[in-house]
């Protein structure tokens, strides 16, 4: 009969009101303005993943994300408190110690306001308490996060090596069949990275490469969708490949799945579901949630003559973020072999609970 107060699924509940702006084809994007927040859209995130190594030989994967979720659409009422949870921010931060196969994760949640969580609208600056992502004009993207309980800290400077990549059609990335099942999705797919990692009291000066995503939309995933499998690979030949497969509840990917191949010179080629195939070669079962995640894949992209295998560098990279975003997912560093040799990150969602209609 008793139920502890639990706010875990707060962010995944349909937000109040239908007044959120939806993403339409040919979005009017201008940067650096659109690096900032889009509070009139319901969901947004600034996402950084990367792999760095210390001079001492240790190598780490890291992930840093600030999510924004609109809870109440429309203008404030007169006399309304600025602390009304119209917008809520969540943060995920993980370090994978590849050598020791150890995964460390921390999360944050806070409503917008009081100078403790917010995002700028005209530039890239989002913060959640002491976690922050910021890019000043001409400067690197600076990412900083620390969590004493997890014993983890990162402070990274990301210097984009290529121009901003707009996925889909000019940044319009279709995610489902219905109107509005789309997001604006842009990336810096390869950023030279240097900074500091502190893990359990040991500090490392590190260097490596990172991938930055910024995405916003309103009702990206349609009904009947279970989750998605996403890869962001930096190939050794200087190209980058992003693939996402949006899984249906009964299995298989929806037609709007696809990806982007970025050439060495920054030119992009978009491909769709029919252009690629993905086959699971190995799964790993989480002892904490019981979910089985595919951690080794065979991927084929015939149009680009790419046939390769992707394998997780560390099996247990599961993030149980039911305390913040309400979802459990897998996100960790991977290496690819075959025609697309390189490394990158893999994200697997919807293996514990369907995410349909939640994003």
């Amino acid at each position: 009969m008793f139920k502890k107060i639990a706010l875990m699924s707060l962010l995944t509940i349909a937000a109040r009101g239908d007044d959120w702006k939806i993403v339409k084809p040919s979005p009017d994007l201008s940067y650096p303005r659109d690096h900032g927040a889009h509070f009139d859209h319901r969901t947004e995130w600034w996402y950084v993943t990367g792999e760095v190594a210390a001079a001492t030989g240790e190598s780490f994967g890291y992930q840093f994300t600030i999510f924004r979720r609109g809870m109440i659409a429309g203008e404030s009422r007169p006399g309304e408190s600025a602390l009304r949870p119209r917008q809520v921010f969540a943060g995920h931060f993980a370090i994978t110690d590849i050598k020791n196969s150890k995964f460390t994760f921390a999360e944050r949640l806070r409503r917008r306001g009081a100078g403790l969580a917010d995002a700028a609208e005209g530039s890239m600056h989002a913060f959640l308490e002491n976690w922050e992502i910021i890019k000043n004009d001409g400067g690197p993207i600076r990412v900083a996060a620390s969590d004493a309980a997890a014993g983890a800290m990162i402070q990274m400077d990301l210097d984009p090596a290529k121009a901003l990549v707009a996925h889909g059609s000019g940044g319009y990335s279709k995610k489902g069949p219905e109107v509005g099942n789309a997001s604006v999705y842009v990336s810096f797919t390869r950023c030279a990275t240097k900074g500091i990692i502190n893990l359990n009291g040991r500090e490392f000066s590190v260097k490596g490469e990172s991938w930055f995503d910024h995405e916003f939309g309103t009702s990206q995933l349609g009904k009947g969708v279970a989750g998605w499998d996403w890869f962001g690979l930096r190939m050794d030949d200087g190209r980058e490949l992003m693939i996402y497969g949006i899984r249906k509840v009964g299995g298989g990917y929806i037609a709007e799945s696809g990806g982007t191949l970025v050439d060495r010179n920054g030119a992009t080629r978009v491909f769709t579901k029919n252009d690629f195939s993905m086959e699971v070669l190995e799964t790993w079962k989480s002892s904490k949630t019981g979910a089985s995640y595919p951690i080794r894949w065979r991927v084929s992209l015939p149009s680009e003559k790419l046939n390769f295998e992707v394998r997780a560098k560390v099996k247990d990279c599961e993030l149980d973020s039911r305390g913040t975003t309400g979802v459990v997912y897998w996100e960790g560093p991977v290496q690819s072999s075959g025609d697309a040799r390189g490394s990158g990150f893999m994200e697997l969602t919807g293996y514990v609970e369907s995410l349909g209609g939640k994003f």
């Binding site: 107060i5 408190s81 403790l116 002491n130």
Partner: protein, 867 residues
Amino acid sequence: MPRFPHVPALVLRAFVIRPVLRRPWRFIITVIGVAVGVASILATWLSSRAAVASMREGAVEIAGRARVEVTQPGGLLESELYRFRPLADRALIAPVIEEFALAPKLKDTIRVLGVDVLLDRKIRELDVIFNPLYAAGNLERALAGAGALVPEPLARELNLEAGGILTIHARSKPVEIPILALLRPRSVASAWNRTIVIDIAYAQEIFGRIGRIDRLELLPRIDNLSIEDAGLEITNLESRAREAAPPGARVGRPNERAEQADRMVQALQFNLTALSGISLIVGSMLVATTLATSVVQRRSIIALLRSLGASNLQIATAVFFEASAIGLLGGALGVVAGVAGARASLAGARTTVASMVPGVPATELYIPWWAAACGVALGLFNSSVAAILPLREAMRTPPLQGLRRERPAFLSKKAWLLASASLVSLCIASYLLALAPALGGLPYAALASSFALLVAVVVVASPALDAAARLGVSRRFITFPMIARAGLAALSAGRSRAAWAAGAVGMAVALAISITTMVGSFRETVFDFVNQTIRSDVWIRPRTASTGVHVGRLDPEIVNIALREFGGDVVDPFHETTAFVRGEPISLCAGEYRVVQRAAGLPFVDGRDPKRVFADAIVNNSIMINEPLSNRFGIRAGDTIEIAVPSGILRKRVEGVFYDYSRSQGMAVLDRAEFLQLYPDDGPREVAFFLNNAVEAPAVRSKLIELLGGKFEVDILLNRELRGQAMEAFDRSFEITKALEIVSRIVAIVAVLTVLFALVDERRHDFALVRALGGSKLQVIGMVFTEGICLGIISVIGGFVFGLLVGVVLVKVINLQSFGWTMRLLPPWTNILSIACSVTFVCGAAALPPAWFAARRAPRELLQDDV
């Protein structure tokens, strides 16, 4: 061959069990005496503890797992919270609004806790009773809107359930809050019983706190540390929070807030407990009297037992056994009566506390098992200590061969001298102790001074009885009826026991007279003060709780309406907040100097004309302080006071020190315009109207009712109504003290009954002889009655003299040291006379049952009734 019982069993049976079974009333009354003492102290302690529990334990309980908090008088600005971002790596940062609001259906205060419902589960683990209407996260969504979690006991009391509506008054406006789900408090008498939880944004909106929070709670993120490391982590967090905090903010731990609240009422609790402790001493004297009488009465048995080989240890064991039986039973009975007394006096205690710390919600009376055990132990200890003197007498009793009957004798000159010297010494000690300062804000020395005076009552009892007995046999009183003279003389026969009795009754009388003197003096002083100071013609204030204290503040819109309608020359809004002087909290208040000056009736300590003082304060832009603040910090008129306000340190010249009996923690009054520059306008506590023509008051009230009715829940009072309510509130706040006065009267009755039963029992041979010589039953009754009346008169005289002196110490020293206010000594003579007469009457009446007991038994039976 007959078998002799085992000696210890023989001792117990002959010395304890048989006499108790034979004379159960004496035993029962002594047990009641102990019980009254234990009950009195326990009831006072329990009720005053329960009255402050929600404030003291509540602060920590409500704080949950938060370990450090940042506060600021007037509230922390939201725009300043960014400073704490760097702390977030080690601490969860949670803003909180905590307000007290009137629940009109309950007629009492509830705590409204505004929290960030998105992250609060990490701080406060609340047992929410599942509500199918709000399953799967909808509850949190709804909470983030407008709704409340309501404690189950409160909902039950208000006959509400999940899905219903709870109405509260926030800033004098009725607010209907949907009940989303019920909470089940995790402990008995929990502060959560009267605490509702709403979202912080909703709290800001309904209490007009937009842009501000009451405190920022910090919860260390690392929770698996050793105790030592956890302590270091908290200290480190505190230190970092201090560095980050904006000027004027205070960083501390939740229990410090509890301690601060505790300090505000500690003097009250200390004094009440000390006064009720005197009842215990009186009870102790009753036990001593009973046991001493019992020992004397059974000297022949003791002698016989010793001849049969009983050792001193066995005799001592028997005396202690009886004492322990009295103590245990008295203690147990005292616990039961104490709990009942606490329940009866809880409302009074709450009123008293609420008058000092407004807006404290009630908690249920909770009796910890250890308090009950302490009550029993207290009874046991009390009677064991009381057994020491009788024990000495029992040990000195020789075996049968050397036994002599005790003969009545007058007090020797040496004893008179000793008593006189003791009396003088006690009076000097009392005087010197009364001059000593308070220690840590508590009047230890002054209470010792009062105690010395009460001991003096006991010291004078024996010589006073001796003097009465001498009068009885004096030739000058030969015309007295023989029965009366016999009664008087009889007192000298059992003088030592009678002296204890007179001492006990005298002490009870002294206690009653001293308390009535204090309450009466205070009441008269406050009455004059109220008449002098309450000069406004109309008064608006929030609705009052059952404690008589008005809860919360008025909406600033009320002031705007009043100013628009009646103009700035008439309206005086009175604001209040907490500020700090030398790190200690005080009330910082504000009024319109210009308006108050016109009708100023505030009495200043130096006797200056209040109009002049206000005029000077306007010119000099200075401040006024009340007497408790002046006494607490040694700040006088003309000095500069430094007050910590949100913007820093406010330095102001003190224009005058005024008498005040409302805020013992200290109060400083600023001009309203300056106050509103320092603090946001959260709305005043009350609004007074000083009309140019007092005759217009009823019309103004009608107009205000028309303007405010339907929108605001306020009381609009005329001058005489306000004065009447002020005195009612005063009387309510002294209900608990009055209960002590009643207890002291009960103690007097029990004392007289105990002793007279004992004395009658002791002298049953004398009565038998009187009867055998032809004395009638009436004559025996007359003798005992005279004895009782005489005992009463002597006790009352002693109690009156020393009670008045204790009253002087209470009024002039203890109150000043505890609360910082000066009172005039105005003993309520009618009440005092009533106490004197009633106790004398009670003594006479209490003599009747023992007298009847003595008279109704046949002389032969009495003469044979020995071993």
